[in-house]
């Protein structure tokens, strides 16, 4: 197969240059389709990285138990709230059975106003912790010390504060050793936790951590606790989870056949939800891209049909000079593919810019992947081939005598 490649590509570019507005309109569908694919793939990949990074920051060998568990359905949540509270006693019993196979912590929280001198912050999460909270949370202290077991046992009025609380309330002052008023009770700051950053725009550094018993003094009644379990051996997490379920069912007198009166939440459950969400996003985008590419392809086909008609005589000349059907076919296919590839390239540029821009102004690490670029280019090339075949076949099938006579 011989092809006048220089002419084919040259003609495509020349046609694009000659009428910029028409070219833009011709390629619009392809540009939009490829832009959508590149931008969304890059963003979703970035978000995936972000979400799994954050969710797994605590380690994949941690799970949580509370009354509700991982539940999205409002009715089920309402039902679950009627279950008996989880208590510190449940956590202690569980810790006793799991022994040195796992770390167990219990936590409950309330929101309260906090104050230092004339500085105030409203609705700050006050977490009461007990058990192996340091091991489960992997908490790092920037300044001062963490809460000690003795603090928890003696229900001391001491607190570790999040880095944002430290900055806002103490404004440059070292908070360690200073007073902290929580509600109407006075605590002493013993440490400042290392900054964790935000998760989907929500700060993870606006909290105060106190011994569980000290937190109880701030609330009218003992709240249901959340139990955190961290398997010492990451490989045996499933076994620890099974054992936890069995132990809690026994302590809480869940009858055989009756469902758990508590819920276990694993990082995988969050990731699963996230994957469902991104899968939906992908389907929507594939739909948008498919429609754009279909429209773009039809426009390219129309442009190519016009081109074939305009150049009927040229096709006749080429045939007279020895071009075979396949040669003409290939020439017009190359033109169509060059057209659609230019659209694809513009789409890749536009989509990448959008992804990178989002990456700049948000915490999402929106890296443009080679996969996305490759997919965009391949898609646009396929549009060119698919929608170029019919015009190219029309050109190739022209009778040389008729074509040469065409005015």
């Amino acid at each position: 197969m011989a092809i006048d490649f220089k002419e084919s590509t040259g003609i495509a570019f020349q046609a694009l240059r000659a009428n910029k507005l028409r070219s833009l309109l011709t390629l619009l569908g392809t540009i939009i389709g490829v832009t959508a694919v590149i931008a969304v793939i890059s963003l979703v990949q970035g978000m995936n990285q972000y979400v799994s990074g954050k969710l797994l920051a605590q380690g994949s060998n941690v799970f949580w138990i509370d009354k509700i568990g991982f539940e999205m359905d409002n009715d089920k949540i309402r039902e679950a709230l009627k279950r008996p509270d989880l208590t510190l006693g449940d956590a202690d019993a569980l810790a006793g059975v799991l022994g040195n196979k796992a770390y167990v912590k219990a936590e409950a929280s309330t929101n309260s106003q906090i104050r230092y001198l004339e500085h105030k912050m409203q609705r700050i999460e006050v977490k009461g912790v007990s058990g192996n909270f340091q091991q489960v949370d992997d908490q790092e202290i920037d300044n001062g010390r963490p809460l000690a077991d003795l603090d928890v046992q003696r229900r001391r009025s001491v607190a570790v504060i999040g880095s944002e609380v430290a900055e806002e309330l103490y404004a440059g002052l070292d908070p360690v050793g200073h007073d902290l008023q929580i509600g109407n009770r006075r605590f002493q700051v013993v440490g400042v936790a290392k900054k964790k950053g935000s998760f989907f725009g929500e700060s993870q550094d606006r909290y105060v951590q106190v011994p569980f018993g000290a937190m109880l003094k701030l609330v009218p009644q003992t709240p249901s606790v959340t139990i955190g379990v961290k398997s010492v051996d990451a490989g045996r997490i499933q076994q620890v989870e099974d054992e936890t379920r069995a132990v809690l069912r026994a302590i809480r007198h869940d009858r055989p056949g009756q469902s758990d009166s508590f819920g276990i939440t694993t990082p995988e459950a969050f990731l699963g939800l996230w994957r469902n969400f991104t899968a939906t996003a992908f389907i929507v985008v594939i739909g948008v891209a498919a429609i754009s590419l279909l429209v773009g392809g039809i426009v390219i086909m129309n442009t190519m049909l016009v081109s074939v008609t305009e150049r009927t005589r040229e096709i006749g000349v080429r045939k007279a000079l020895g071009a075979r059907r396949g040669d003409i076919m290939l020439q017009f296919l190359v033109e169509a593919v060059v057209l659609s590839l230019v659209g694809g390239a513009l789409g890749v540029a536009l989509g990448s810019s959008i992804a990178l821009l989002v990456g700049l102004v948000s915490p999402l690490p929106a890296a443009v992947s080679g996969l996305a670029v490759g997919l965009g280019v391949a898609m646009s090339a396929m549009v060119g081939i698919f929608f170029g075949v019919y015009p190219a076949a029309r050109a190739a099938g022209l009778d040389p005598v008729d074509a040469l006579r065409y005015e």
């Binding site: 011989a2 002419e7 000349v317 075979r324 040669d327 005598v401």
Partner: protein
């Protein structure tokens, strides 16, 4: 000299509406290698149809066409394309150059379809352009060339693949008299170098430059006469 082409009882019938039109109604003709033949006839005489068949652009409805002892009347599209590429060089009344391509690229086209590599292609195209006196216009586009220069590019393109036959259709039809004369002088040169030429024309002066005139009327050969050397000299002088 061998036989270049042989037509035996050639017929070409078109269907127009419900009627059959016999564009060629039994044409037999033999042309030897190296001949310079003019085909003449009024419009509707079938000379264009004959040219299309001789040029392998069209196939006869009946009869035999042998080109260099090969039966080409029943070849398929792609085989005909190959024959056109290797054996025939076309020169058209309206030049039919590609407007977007420069002279060099226009001349390269038959070589592209002949599968000649880029380096050799370029060299041969340059050579052909030098031969028609356009060595200094290779990078010019058709719209930057005069009519005569365009036809020279077309002639270079027709000859670049060293065809057995140069087939020209009213080659001077779009040119003024002086430029037309120049082109016909070039044809005489090409003929002198041994290349077979068929010119389809309705101009007596053009036909007079050839050595044999075949006249068609109503799809049949009306006359087939050698041109007197005297007439040739006169035409060349005029």
């Amino acid at each position: 000299m061998g036989v270049l082409l042989e037509l035996i009882d050639l017929e070409r019938t078109y269907r127009v509406g419900s009627e059959d039109v016999h564009a060629l109604a039994g044409v037999s003709l033999r042309i030897m290698e190296g001949e310079y033949v003019a085909i003449m006839g009024p419009s509707g005489s079938g000379k264009s149809t004959l040219m299309n068949i001789v040029g392998c652009l069209d196939t006869p409805s009946a009869g035999v066409y042998r080109l260099k002892e090969r039966e080409v009347s029943s070849l398929g599209d792609d085989e005909l394309a190959r024959v056109r590429n290797e054996e025939i060089g076309f020169v058209f009344q309206t030049f039919n150059l590609l407007a977007r391509a420069d002279a060099l690229h226009n001349v390269e086209l038959p070589l592209i379809y002949g599968g000649v590599g880029p380096a050799e292609r370029r060299q041969r195209a340059e050579e052909a352009l030098h031969q028609v006196g356009l060595g200094d216009r290779m990078k010019h586009k058709p719209n930057e060339l005069s009519g005569g220069q365009r036809q020279r590019v077309a002639i270079a393109r027709a000859l670049v693949n060293r065809p057995s036959l140069l087939l020209a259709d009213e080659p001077t039809g779009n040119l003024d008299t002086r430029t037309g004369d120049e082109i016909m002088a070039l044809f005489a040169q090409i003929s002198a170098s041994g290349r077979s030429i068929i010119v389809v024309t309705h101009e007596e002066e053009v036909a007079a430059r050839s050595r044999r005139i075949v006249r068609l009327r109503d799809g049949k050969i009306e006359s087939d006469l050698a041109v007197a050397p005297q007439a040739q000299t006169l035409a060349a002088g005029g």
